[in-house]
């Protein structure tokens, strides 16, 4: 295995003052005022004078180093503003780093957006050539792949129609199809998989998987952690422009979640102001064991009680409460709700409590998220807590056989089962 991308101490610095005022006359005005030791004439009253603003710097990336090997799929995760997009922009040579070096072996193609450079007046055919060329394909390469692209996008009939007449679905399909048929050694992808209907998304994911299997190197940025953990071999996490974690996808993703949720994750508490609220709020959620002690580790098949406190501004009937359970990589495992059980939830002004008692936890060992929602009617949602609590299910000898379900091959859930045996015919053994 050889290293094909070597990122060495990359930093990117945006100097806020560097941008100037945007017009020459104003820059002159500011400069003239500065020459006479007058304050900046364009500042609003009370605003701080930044002068040269040499100190006002924004480090979008700071000393980031990592390596990517031939054929590796590297996932890049991090919160908004962590520096993911800046890193991709530098890798795709849209902007230059402030310091540091990136060495690359092979041709790099980047997909920060699908359909870059599509012209509405041109036909599908012309746009395939134009977009392909923008992405770095030669005319010959596009000729070879043309039919494949058209088939993939399912737009045979409209290939000579200007794309402004396309439906948005067709447009996106065509755009992705061109991108998906790029043949670079290294592909840099930014969340473009989130396009089209779910059918087409599946197709795109399949295509991405194929690309990875062909031994091409892929750098992938996505907020969809399930996608990342499915496709990547390694994951790096950025935070505030720094590389904070790197390695095995599941480990990094789980660390990422732990960093993002409160330490006291067995309990959620609403800290905002309630007076003047017109909507109901979930103000506290705790997870309790069957002995009513708060906990965030539950053995398989044990009881789990979700205890919620809901604040209501007035008497309100027929409220709906729902929760869902997802894996840390974002796969929804189970849902529960008052509307499913036809439970009539009536809230009184002030504090109310609602408990959900789950009799037996039927999921595989691992870490899970709980999200909660409070609705009046569909669409009239009062409070939604996404990935509010994290808890672990720990392995247990559920069948009392001495077998502990450990390791990665447990699936997502489990059930009770028995074996029955019958002898239909006995043959003489020789």
């Amino acid at each position: 295995m050889s290293v094909v991308i070597s990122v060495e101490n990359i930093s990117k610095n945006y100097r806020l003052g560097q941008i100037g005022t945007g017009t020459f006359s104003r820059d002159l005005e500011v400069w003239w005022a500065k020459m006479r030791d007058k304050p900046n004439p364009l500042l609003r009253i009370g605003e701080k004078d930044h002068g040269d603003r040499d100190d006002e710097e924004l480090w979008a990336l700071r000393d980031v180093s990592f390596k990517v090997e031939q054929g590796e799929v590297l996932g890049i995760i991090g919160r908004n503003g962590a520096g993911k997009s800046t890193l991709l922009k530098i890798l795709s040579r849209v902007t230059a780093p402030t310091t540091g070096k990136i060495k690359v072996k092979g041709r790099i193609a980047s997909l920060l957006e699908v359909g870059t450079g599509f012209h509405p007046e041109l036909t599908g055919r012309e746009n395939i050539y134009l977009n392909g060329a923008i992405l770095g394909m030669s005319r010959k390469e596009i000729n070879l792949k043309f039919d494949e692209i058209v088939n993939f996008a399912e737009v045979e009939k409209f290939i000579d129609t200007p794309v402004k007449r396309y439906s948005s679905g067709m447009y996106v399909r065509l755009a992705f199809a061109v991108a998906a048929h790029l043949d670079p050694e290294i592909l840099v992808v930014d969340e473009v998989l989130a396009v089209g209907d779910s059918e087409f998304q599946k197709k795109c994911l399949g295509k991405m998987g194929d690309v990875a299997k062909e031994g091409r190197t892929v750098l992938l940025v996505s907020h969809n952690l399930a996608q990342i953990s499915n496709l990547s071999h390694n994951v790096i996490q950025l935070d505030n422009g720094r590389l904070v974690d790197a390695g095995n996808p599941d480990v990094v993703i789980s660390n990422y979640h732990q960093r993002n949720t409160d330490n006291n994750s067995s309990m959620y508490k609403y800290t905002g102001e309630l007076s003047g609220e017109s909507k109901c709020k979930i103000i506290q959620v705790r997870l309790l064991r069957n002995d009513r002690l708060p906990n965030n580790e539950f053995p398989m098949a044990d009881q789990l009680i979700i205890e919620t406190q809901i604040w209501a501004p007035l008497q309100i009937g027929n409220m709906q409460f729902g929760f869902d359970l997802t894996t840390i990589s974002g796969i929804r495992v189970a849902v529960g709700a008052t509307w499913i059980k036809k439970y009539n939830l009536e809230l009184n002004p002030g504090l109310n409590t609602l408990e959900v008692k789950i009799n037996s936890i039927r999921v595989a060992p691992g870490e899970y998220f709980l999200s909660f929602g409070l609705y009046k009617l569909p669409g009239d949602h009062h409070h939604f807590l996404s990935n509010c609590l994290i808890f672990s299910v720990i392995e247990k000898d559920i069948f009392q056989t001495g077998y502990l379900p450990t390791g990665n091959s447990q699936g997502l859930t489990w059930f009770e089962y028995e074996f029955y045996y019958n002898n239909l015919m006995t043959m003489e053994s020789k």
Binding site: V3, G22, K67, S92, P97, V104, K105, L112, R139, G247
Partner: protein, 299 residues
């Protein structure tokens, strides 16, 4: 954290063992000023041609007269000039038929003007594209030169047809074959001047948007400082140096001399234009090269 350290350690070890390998590309903060990557531009020649096609096809889509506009524009300008400057103001035309005199000036000047104004919008017009994908940025201005060259060719053919018409009518026109043979060279100087000035302005517009307004206006003013509507010979000798300092002056005069047989031309002024063009193109490329690397941060 231990794991992270391991990862870095591994990286470091790899680093030392990798040093001898050769890399295809190195992304750095500033590449050298003269590294224009023309080889890369050549690799993207298909893209340049597709840009040309795009500009050509898309401009006149959904218009009734379509490509006829390429002919209508210079024709109307010529007629206007003939009426205003020829008939009303009675400016001299070096003894040439007024219509041909103004048409030659208009057609040649409009190629330079179009190259200059269009390339000066490179960064602002393509901000979205440049922000999403890398290709040699020079592909955009170069494609503009080429698509305008096609327009110029169409208009020039029209001019030649009019010229032949006037010759058959027995007008006082003496095309000079030697200078006609040199005319592609004039086109190159003109394209170079347009490109050079255009990319300098486009690089500056990433910082100062006012320049965009100045360009349209400035090009118009510049036309009056160029012998488009008057011949150099009509300028008093004391002031001729002002008009001759304009690198476009020898080009227009040379075109007239080549195809119509009247104009103030000499080798020195042509060399002056050529030298001017080289300086502008080199300066422009250097500025452009510098700006293209980080302009996304300021637009």
């Amino acid at each position: 954290m231990e794991k992270l350290d391991d990862f870095f350690m591994m990286s470091q070890q790899k680093n030392s063992s990798m040093q001898d390998e050769d890399w295809d590309m190195i992304i750095e903060s500033q590449r050298s000023l003269l590294d224009l990557r023309l080889g890369e531009l050549w690799r993207y020649k298909d893209l340049v041609m597709l840009f040309v096609r795009r500009d050509f096809v898309s401009i006149y889509k959904q218009t009734i007269l379509g490509p006829l506009w390429y002919l209508i524009q210079p024709l109307l300008t010529t007629i206007t000039f003939t009426i205003i400057f020829g008939s009303i103001a009675s400016l001299p035309t070096d003894g040439l038929p007024q219509f041909l005199f103004y048409m030659s000036g208009t057609v040649v000047w409009s190629y330079f003007a179009a190259c200059l104004t269009k390339t000066s919008e490179t960064f602002v017009q393509n901000a979205n594209l440049f922000g999403k994908v890398y290709f040699p940025r020079l592909a955009a201005p170069v494609s503009i030169l080429i698509s305008n060259l096609i327009t110029f060719a169409i208009q020039f053919v029209m001019f030649i047809l009019f010229m032949l018409f006037f010759v058959l009518q027995g007008s006082n026109i003496h095309p000079n074959l030697l200078w006609i043979a040199l005319s592609p060279f004039f086109v190159i100087i003109m394209a170079g001047l347009g490109l050079g000035f255009g990319i300098i302005i486009s690089s500056l517009t990433t910082k100062y948007r006012d320049l965009r307004f100045l360009v349209t206006f400035g090009v118009q003013l510049l036309m009056y400082a160029t012998p488009v509507i008057y011949p150099v010979s009509s300028i008093p000798a004391r002031f001729q140096w002002i008009v001759l300092a304009n690198p476009m002056t020898p080009i227009i005069e040379a075109f007239r001399f080549a195809f119509l047989g009247a104009g103030t031309v000499n080798i020195n002024s042509m060399l002056y234009s050529f030298g001017f063009m080289l300086v502008v193109v080199i300066a422009g490329s250097i500025i452009f090269n510098r700006v293209e690397q980080t302009f996304m941060d300021t637009v």
